[in-house]
Symmetry: C3
Subunit: 334 residues, 3 copies
C-alpha cells in the first residue's frame, strides 16, 4: 500500500528529513533499492551501501543521517521501525469472508461470519473460529478447538483436538498442534501407550513456523505464552510451558514437561531435556542443550564449531588421551 | 467411560483398598486431581502430593499405601497400570464406519465396511484399508499400500506407495511413509537420482509421531518391527531396519541402511550414521550418535550439557590448546 | 519396463559380456537378485556376493568381471550407471493429463494441458503449472508461483507464494516452500514481526525430501541452484543461497542469509549459522556446524562419536578439569 513519508513519520514517531509528500510503495534492501522504495540501515556492516542507495527513503539512526543521500526517517531502532512500517506497506494478503464450497464444517462448529475457510478445510465438532480469521487450504481443525480473532493458518495446518489459540496468531504450513505426546510405559511385553488427554493453550500474538509440532498435554495442557515465536521444524513436547516472548529458532526442541521462562531464546538446533525448569531471560546457543534447571538468566552454550576435518581428527585423538595426559602429569608431580 | 474401582482392580490385577463401587470418570495428575478422578503415584518426587490429593483413587505401590488418604489400587508398576486403565476411561474417539462423500477412492482399492475414510482422504489403486481402521481428514494413501486392522491415521498423513502396515498402528499428522530415500550417484555432471523402488513394512502396534518421515527402501524394503515407538520429527532413512520395541524420541534420526536391534532407545536428537549394525538393548543419550557397529548392549553417549557461555568460551579455548598442553608435558618429561 | 542388455549397453556406453538379447525386467540387490533382474557391484564390501548372484546381469568394473557368473555390463562407475539404467527399467509412475474434479484452480492460473492436478489440489491466482508436470493429491500451490516442465510434487506439498521452480524438480510429501522466514525485531514490548516479502527461486533438477522447509526471502529471494539435493526434514532459512549441486542430508539446516557455494555436502544433522559465506566444494561432517566464513574447499568436522556412557562420564569429568590440569602443568613448569 503506497503511503507518504509524512504519514509514516507521524504514525511511527520518526523525525523526517525530506519531503513529507514523497510516496513509498515498495520495500527494498539498502544495496539494491529502486526509486519509490523504503529501506533501512540497521547493522554497521551495511553502512557502506548508504551513500549509493537509490531508495526513496531510509530508516536510520540520527548518527547516520549525514551520509544519507535521500530522505531519512530517523528513529532509535531502525529494524523494529522498518518491521512496523513494512506491515503497513505490505500487509498480509486480503481475503474475502466466507466458507469455500469444498470445506467440511461440523454442525456444532461456530465460524465467525467474517472468517474465511479456504478450499478443503475441515472443522470438527464443537470448534470455534474467531472474527477475521483465515484458515488456509487443506487445514484440518479437529474437535473442541478455539481459534481467536485475526489469526492466519496459512495452509495444511493441523490442530488435532482441544487446541485453544488467542488472537493474531500465525501458523505456517505443516504445523501440527495437539498431537499425542510421547507417553509410553515400559513393560516386559513392550511399550504400553499412555493416553494423552490434555490439550494445548496458546496465547496471543504467537507465530509458529512450517512443520513445527506442539504436542498436547498428557493430562493437563501444554501452554505457549503470549508473543512466543517458534521457527520451522521445532518440537515442543507434552506438558511444556513456554513463557511469554520466548523464541525458538529452527529445529530447536524442548522435551516433555520442561517449564521455560519468559523472553528465553533458543538458537538453532538447541534445546532442553525434559522435566527441567528454566528461568526468564535465558539464551541457549546453537546446538547446545540444557540438561538441568537453570536459575540464573544469561547465555548458555556447549557446542564446538567445525574446523578442518584433519585438525578435528587430531583434536579428537588428543581428547581421547586426556586420561593418559592426566596420568603423565600425576607421575611428574610425584 | 466411568468405571468402578472394583472392575478396574479385577481387570488389571490390583489389590483394592477402598470401596469397590466408587466410580471414577476422569484422569488427573496427583497434585490437582478432583473428586471422581483416577490418578497414580509413580516417581518418588511426587510422593509429597499424595497426602493432600483429592482424587477418588490412586494407583500406587504397596510401600506407599499408608500415606494414601483415599482409595488405593495397589500394583507393582503404577505407571503402566495407569496407562492401561486410562485407555479404558478415556478411549480414543469413536467414529462411524463409512467413506466421506469428499473422499476419493480408486476403483481397485479395498476398504473394510467398518473402516472410516474422513473428508478429503485419497486412496490409490490396489490399496487395502483394514477392519475398524480410521483414516483422518486430508490423508493421502498411495497405490499398493495395505493398512491393517484397528489402525488410526489421525489427519494429513501421507503413505506414498507400497507401504504395508500391521494392526493397531497409530500415525500422527504430517507423517510421511514411503517417500524416496536419499539415493544420489555422484558424477562429473552432478548428482544422478537413484530410483527408489522398495517399499516399507511396518509391524503391529507401531506409533509414529507428528511430521516424522520413514523412507522407502532403495531396492528392498525399509522395515519397522512390532511395537516400535517413534516420536515427532524423527527421520528413518531408506533400507533401515528397526527391531521390535525400539523407541526414538523427538528429532532422532537413523541414517540409511542401518540395522538397529530390538528394545533400543534413541533419546532426543540422537541417531546413527548409515550402514552400521546396532545390537539389541542399546540406549543412546540425547544429542549423541553412533558412528560404528555396536555389539555390546548398554548406554552410549557423547554430548556436552550447556554451561554458562563465558565458561564455555574458556573451556573451548583450553580444548583448542590441548596440543600445546601435551607438548608442555612432553617437555617436562624430558 | 523390460529391456535387452544389448540396448542398455549401447544406450549407456558399457561393454557387454553376455547375450545382448537377454531381457532384464527388474532391479535387485546383488545378494538376493532373482532371474530376470539387473543388479550392480559398487563397493568392495559386496564383492563376496558376486559369485553366487542369480541376477540376469551385473553392472560392474572391468576389474571384477572375472568373478561374475552371469552377464556383465562393464563401466567405470557402476553405481551411476545403475542409477541411469534403473530410471529406464523402473520409470516414475505414469499419469494421465488433466485436472481432477475436486481440484480448485484459480481463474487466473495457467495449467499446461498435459499436466496433472490430482485430487484436492489447490492452485492460487496467477500461478503457472508447466508441461507434463504432476501435482499430487492435497498439494496447495499458492499465488504467483511458477512450476516448470516435467516436475513432480508427490502429495501434500505446499508452495506458499512467489515460488519459481525450474524443470524436472521432485518435491516429496510435506515439503513447504516459501513460508515466512524467522524475522523478528526485538523491542521492549516483545517481538515485532518483520514482514517477509521475498520469494523463492529454485533451479532445474532439484529434489527436496519429505517435510523439509525452504523459507521465502525477507526482501529479496531465497535461491536454490540447479541440481541441488535436499533430504528429509531439512531447513533452509530466508535469503539463503545454495549453489548448484550442493546436497544436504537429513535434518541438516542452513540458517538465514548464509551463502553456500556449489557442490557442497552437508551430512546429517549438520549446518551453518546465519549470515556466513561458504565457498564451493566444502563438506561438513554429521552433527557439525560451520560458525564462520569458509574460504578453503575441503572437509570440516566437529563431532564426537558416542562411546559407552560410563567412559563418557569420565571423559566429560576430565574435560571439565582441563583448567585444573593446565594449572598443575604450570606449577610443574615453575
Amino acid at each position: 500500500m503506497p503511503i507518504s513519508l509524512g504519514e509514516l513519520a507521524t504514525s511511527f514517531g520518526c523525525e523526517l528529513i525530506g519531503d513529507p509528500d514523497t510516496i513509498v510503495s515498495y520495500l527494498a534492501a539498502l544495496q539494491n533499492a529502486e526509486s519509490g522504495s523504503l529501506t533501512f540501515l540497521s547493522g554497521a556492516s551495511f553502512l557502506k551501501y548508504l551513500s549509493a542507495t537509490q531508495a526513496a527513503a531510509v530508516i536510520l539512526r540520527a548518527q547516520d543521517v549525514d551520509q544519507c543521500p535521500v530522505a531519512a526517517l530517523i528513529c532509535d531502532d531502525p529494524y523494529a521501525t522498518y518491521a512496523r512500517m513494512a506491515a503497513v506497506i505490505c500487509p498480509p494478503p486480503a481475503f474475502t469472508p466466507g466458507v469455500h464450497a469444498s470445506a467440511v464444517v461440523a454442525s456444532t462448529a461456530t465460524v465467525a461470519a467474517n472468517a474465511h475457510l479456504a478450499a478443503n478445510v475441515v472443522v470438527g465438532e464443537g470448534t470455534t473460529i474467531g472474527e477475521n480469521t483465515y484458515v488456509g487450504p487443506g487445514s484440518v481443525i479437529g474437535p473442541d478447538c478455539s481459534i481467536g480473532n485475526d489469526c492466519r493458518l496459512i495452509a495444511n495446518v493441523t490442530l488435532v483436538k482441544q487446541v485453544v489459540i488467542g488472537a493474531r496468531g500465525i501458523f505456517h504450513p505443516g504445523v501440527v498442534i495437539g498431537a499425542d505426546g510421547f507417553g509410553n510405559a515400559s513393560t516386559a511385553e513392550g511399550w504400553v501407550k499412555v493416553p494423552q488427554i490434555g490439550g494445548v493453550r496458546i496465547g496471543n500474538d504467537v507465530e509458529i513456523g512450517a512443520n513445527s509440532t506442539i504436542d498436547c498435554g498428557s493430562i493437563d495442557d501444554t501452554v505457549i505464552g503470549d508473543g512466543v515465536r517458534i521457527d520451522n521444524l521445532c518440537m515442543v513436547g507434552h506438558n511444556v510451558h513456554l513463557g511469554a516472548h520466548t523464541a525458538m529458532a529452527a529445529t530447536a526442541a524442548i522435551a516433555g514437561s520442561a517449564k521455560i521462562g519468559e523472553r528465553c531464546i533458543f538458537a538453532g538446533a538447541s534445546g532442553t531435556v525434559g522435566h527441567i525448569e528454566v528461568c526468564d531471560d535465558v539464551t541457549v546457543a546453537a546446538l547446545s542443550f540444557l540438561s538441568k534447571d537453570v536459575t540464573e538468566p544469561g547465555n548458555y552454550a556447549a557446542s564446538f564449531p567445525a574446523v578442518a576435518a584433519k585438525s578435528w581428527r587430531k583434536q579428537l585423538a588428543r581428547f581421547r588421551r586426556l586420561g593418559q595426559l592426566n596420568e603423565r602429569v600425576k607421575k611428574l608431580e610425584k
